[in-house]
Amino acid sequence: SAVISQKPSRDICQRGTSLTIQCQVDSQVTMMFWYRQQPGQSLTLIATANQGSEATYESGFVIDKFPISRPNLTFSTLTVSNMSPEDSSIYLCSVAGQGGTEAFFGQGTRLTVV
């Protein structure tokens, strides 16, 4: 299993500013995933973060808006840049165990943009 610590747990930000979300895992993992959950919606994958290479973004998400860092095998950050109220969501980081095992989620960051 993996224990994921995600910070901050929540924040209220002004539009036009940026917020960096941190995700720390208690073990080394190859891939980390960042998801967004808009109010009342399902989870949508933003990007896959691999250590030592650029993140792979899903359709509809771009690096300029959601830059990701992955400096080592236990840590990643997601930045939400130039925020607007439409960015108000829960952001979750996740790691995958070995094939055939569950994915683990952090507790999420509840972001409100005003």
């Binding site: 995933f33 399902s42 989870l43 094939g99 055939g100 994915a103 952090g106 999420g108």
Partner: protein, 111 residues
């Protein structure tokens, strides 16, 4: 491609049963089931691997029909604590282990 989840919502009385379905048009390697309560992160329930495997956890069980790329979650003798939104997350064969989530099923269990 997002899996199709049904029903969108269901209301039960305590002790009643429910079935939640999840289907995909893509070949799947696994199906994950999560329950999320309001304001909280999703909580893992179980994972089904291809091969028609059925799993159970207390009064919650699930099946995966590989031929149809469908999974069903069975909630028997529901309890108040079962209330929440249930999501299936599908992992496609050959993917990098990322999940694609269904739209969710809101389950309400009434006393």
């Amino acid at each position: 491609q997002q899996p199709v989840q049904s029903p969108q919502a269901v209301i039960l009385r305590e002790g009643e049963d429910a079935v939640i379905n999840c289907s995909s048009s893509k070949a799947l390697y696994s199906v994950h089931w999560y329950r999320q309560k309001h304001g909280e992160a999703p909580v893992f329930l179980m994972i089904l691997l291809k091969g028609g495997e059925q799993k159970g956890h207390e009064k919650i069980s699930a099946s995966f029909n590989e031929k149809k790329q469908q999974s069903s979650l069975y909630l028997t003798a529901s309890q108040l604590s079962y209330s929440g939104t249930y999501f299936c997350g599908t992992e496609m064969a050959g993917s990098a282990r990322q999940l694609t989530f269904g739209s969710g099923t809101q389950l309400t269990v009434l006393p």
